[in-house]
């Protein structure tokens, strides 16, 4: 009898995760229709971005540039110029109208141009005394302070500190903010109130209509002193609304004796209803994702359909590693396609948006970069979810359907639900991952960008764990 045979390649053969990655990559790259699916996802995403941009209309033509941090800078201000350090004190004697976030108080700002940094302290009917800055709601404070209430702002260098007092004698420090505005600054009294906004949501869309809310407040004991305590003298000037067709009533200022009454509308604060141009441009990811999900699912289920899974698992009996290699290869390939799709969309949409009167936000802005890279990561994670689901179900059509339903249904249903329910739906389902595309915080923003992506990652990790368990346990 002949001697037992010895393999001539055994000495050269190696196992390891890197080899598995090479094997899975070869599988992915050698089926032409899968390469096409990747290209199709990019093209679909970019095409939708261009179509969306072409469909955008800005009334009046040449509208304002899209802001990354949309804000409202209106209301009524009466002010004097403060040359350097100093203190501004006044008593708010009455406040009326404008809702819970109506503001009546003191403000210091470098100038009166819209969007200038400011520091302000104000009483609000619904949120107490607040130190405000940066066109955000909230801020330090919150202790109840209903008129009559004393307020004070002091400016020392770049620091503005806010105080409140019930009687003008015992002062409580509310907080301090940095105001990087050297030199003369406008210091004065202001009233502001957010627009009354009605949002009508129906399946597939929303319509927002805002009407200005009027607010008024009275002040007395107004003193503005420079460093050293000398009173600042100079003319009081007024700033009304920003003007334009939808602008609120500029209101007015009346002075009787020591009492100043301001009336105005419009807010100094966030604009929670602005368009998110970047996010809208990246909507195409929803469509491109269909090709991605199909690719990721078929990459796995084709192996079951053709029984090549037996070859795969016979060549690599460590099944968990096989799944990890598949997920990694598909994830990375889709990440590359996703980057091309996201940046391609933003670049291709720019000239179209400009032609339609919208100035697109710069690509270099951190929020835009986050949305673009996030979209690519989102697509990659969705692909991994597809791989996991396909491994669990082992059949293409049900797996594709399930993944697409889970990603799309919450987003479609959410548009028809009350805002509170919609937000929870978009926080708790895998669709939360799409939050990474937001560059603007809006009234209906359900979850932070990274938190939303995290929710999707958790679902994906759970599906991957279940897939690994089943793959190890089941007969191939």
């Amino acid at each position: 009898m002949t001697a037992p045979y010895r393999s001539t390649v055994l000495a050269d053969a190696r196992d390891g995760f890197g080899r598995l990655l090479a094997a899975e990559w070869t599988k992915l790259a050698t089926v032409p229709r899968w390469r096409l699916a990747l290209a199709a996802s990019v093209l679909l995403t970019v095409a939708v971005a261009v179509l969306t941009a072409a469909g955008s209309q800005t009334t009046g033509g040449g509208g304002p540039p899209a802001r990354l941090r949309p804000l409202s800078d209106q209301g009524r201000i009466t002010y004097q110029m403060l040359p350097g350090d100093g203190a501004l004190t006044a008593r708010v004697t009455a406040q009326g109208g404008g809702g819970g976030w109506a503001k009546a108080g003191l403000i210091i700002r470098a100038d009166l141009r819209p969007g200038t940094p400011y520091a302000a302290i104000a009483v609000t009917p619904g949120h107490g005394v607040r130190l405000l800055s940066g066109y955000r709601d909230g801020g330090p404070g919150g202790a109840p302070g209903t008129p009559p209430a004393w307020l004070r702002l002091t400016r020392a260098g770049t620091t503005v500190t806010g105080y409140a007092s019930p009687d003008g004698r015992t002062w409580r420090r509310v907080g301090a903010v940095e105001l990087d505005a050297p030199g003369p600054a406008a210091a004065g009294l202001f009233v502001a109130a957010p627009d009354r906004v009605e949002v009508q949501r129906q399946f597939g869309g929303e319509s927002i209509s805002g009407t200005p809310a009027d607010t008024r407040a009275s002040f007395d004991n107004v003193t503005l002193t420079a460093a050293g305590g000398a009173p600042v003298t100079g003319p009081w000037r007024d700033r009304g609304g920003a003007g334009g067709p939808a602008a609120p009533d500029p209101g007015g200022t009346t002075r009787t004796g020591g009492t100043v009454t301001l009336a105005g509308s419009g807010d100094i604060g966030p604009d929670a209803f602005a368009d998110d141009v970047t996010r809208t441009t990246l909507t195409g990811a929803l469509v491109g994702q269909a090709a991605i999900v199909a690719l990721a699912v078929l990459f796995v289920t084709a192996e079951y359909r053709r029984a090549t899974i037996r070859l795969t698992l016979a060549a690599s009996p460590r099944r968990g590693r096989v799944l990890a290699a598949k997920a990694t290869v598909v994830g990375l390939a889709v990440l590359a396609a996703g980057l091309a799709a996201a940046f391609g969309s933003l670049l291709a949409a720019r000239p179209v948006l400009r032609a339609h009167g919208t100035e697109p936000p710069p690509l270099t802005d951190p929020a835009v970069l986050r949305a673009a890279v996030g979209t690519a990561v989102l697509m990659a994670v969705v692909a991994v979810l597809g791989v996991a689901t396909a491994t669990i179900l082992r059949r293409g059509a049900p797996a594709i359907t399930l993944v697409l339903l889970v990603l799309l249904v919450p987003q479609i249903v959410a548009t028809g639900l009350p805002v509170a329910a919609a937000r929870w739906l978009q926080r708790l389902t895998p669709a939360a991952g799409f939050a990474v595309q937001h560059t603007v915080r809006r009234y209906d923003t359900p979850i932070g960008a990274f938190a939303g992506l995290g929710v999707l990652c958790l679902y994906t990790a759970a599906a991957l764990a279940a897939a690994a368990w089943l793959l190890r346990r089941r007969d191939a």
Partner: protein
């Protein structure tokens, strides 16, 4: 030890059906071991368990003395072709072999070698979806040979092939065994293994019916009978019966003799001056031997026809 496939007490149940029921056998190096049984006898299930694809309920399968799933580069220990159609139709034959080679870190030159070995040179760059059954079998065999393994396993490799393809595979299996490899080949037709196998493991209903060398099996089935041709049948039968042989008249001029070796028959006939024109040992075909062996199993199945298979 390197080049053996060993199955010990394998048992596998699919729902109510016991597919493999305590199977034990060994495919030894240097031999082509035929693994024969009717469809549904448990051949493919056994092969999947050897490859670690299906988990046995009981028992173990060892390749070179080790469980398949513990092998780090399994393609270099056991090459297998379970299903020749297991290839993505859009992938080129060469790419199919390339990913498989990558999975075990097998050098790329080996892909070219097995393509030549399997005679796929002219079609290697075409999508496998357009392959004929014969070419797919060749691709499956190329894949099995990728790791140049000392043990090989083929599930129904000649099923559906034309005579030329059958002859090629038969020759290939013989030459692989001649190199010292263990070759396990399944078939549901004994005739497919005629002249191809050295050893046979016959199974039915998940159990081993026979585990024997082909020569022994044929000898047993032939039963030591001798075919005798003689113009004087009557005298020949009388003379042989007197010596204690069992004699049966077959066709005209022919007698079947059992119980006496051929040399003794010649002596007896010569001594009795009975003329004869031909004498030959009766050779059963593998198919006859197989029918003999599986008759019980088949009868049993026919008797319990209501049972699901």
């Amino acid at each position: 030890m390197e080049a053996t496939i060993e199955v010990r007490g394998l048992r596998k149940r699919f729902g109510p059906r016991l597919a493999v029921d305590g199977l034990s056998f060994t495919a030894a190096p240097g031999l082509v071991t035929g693994f024969v049984g009717p469809n549904g006898a448990g051949k493919s299930t056994t092969m999947r368990m050897i490859l670690g694809l299906d988990r046995p309920d009981e028992g173990a399968a060892l390749v070179g003395g080790r469980p398949y799933r513990s092998l780090r580069t399994p393609l270099c220990h056991l090459g297998a072709m379970l299903d020749a159609s297991a290839v993505h139709p859009a992938r080129r034959a060469r790419d199919h072999l390339r990913w498989l080679a990558h999975a075990n870190g097998i050098p790329a030159r080996r892909v070219g070698e097995v393509i030549e070995l399997a005679g796929l040179g002219s079609v290697a760059n075409r999508p496998a979806g357009g392959f004929s059954l014969g070419m797919r079998q060749r691709l499956g065999i190329a894949a099995a040979l990728l790791g140049d393994p000392p043990a090989l396993m083929f599930d129904e490799p000649v099923n559906g092939l034309d005579p030329e393809g059958v002859a090629w595979i038969r020759g290939l299996l013989r030459s692989l065994a001649a190199q010292g490899r263990a070759v396990l080949v399944s078939s549901h037709l004994m005739s497919e293994l005629e002249g191809g196998a050295d050893h046979l493991v016959v199974i039915g209903r998940g159990r081993v019916i026979a585990d024997t060398g082909v020569a022994e099996l044929l000898a047993a089935a032939s039963g030591g009978r001798t075919e005798l041709r003689t113009p004087d049948r009557q005298r020949a039968m009388t003379a042989l019966a007197r010596e204690g042989a069992e004699v049966a008249a077959a066709e005209r001029d022919a007698v079947t003799v059992s119980g006496l070796p051929a040399e003794r028959i010649i002596e007896v006939l010569t001594a009795a001056r009975v003329p004869f024109t031909g004498i030959a040992e009766h050779r059963a075909t593998l198919e006859e031997a197989y029918m003999e062996l599986t008759r019980d199993a088949v009868e049993f199945r026919a008797g319990t026809g209501g049972e699901a298979l």
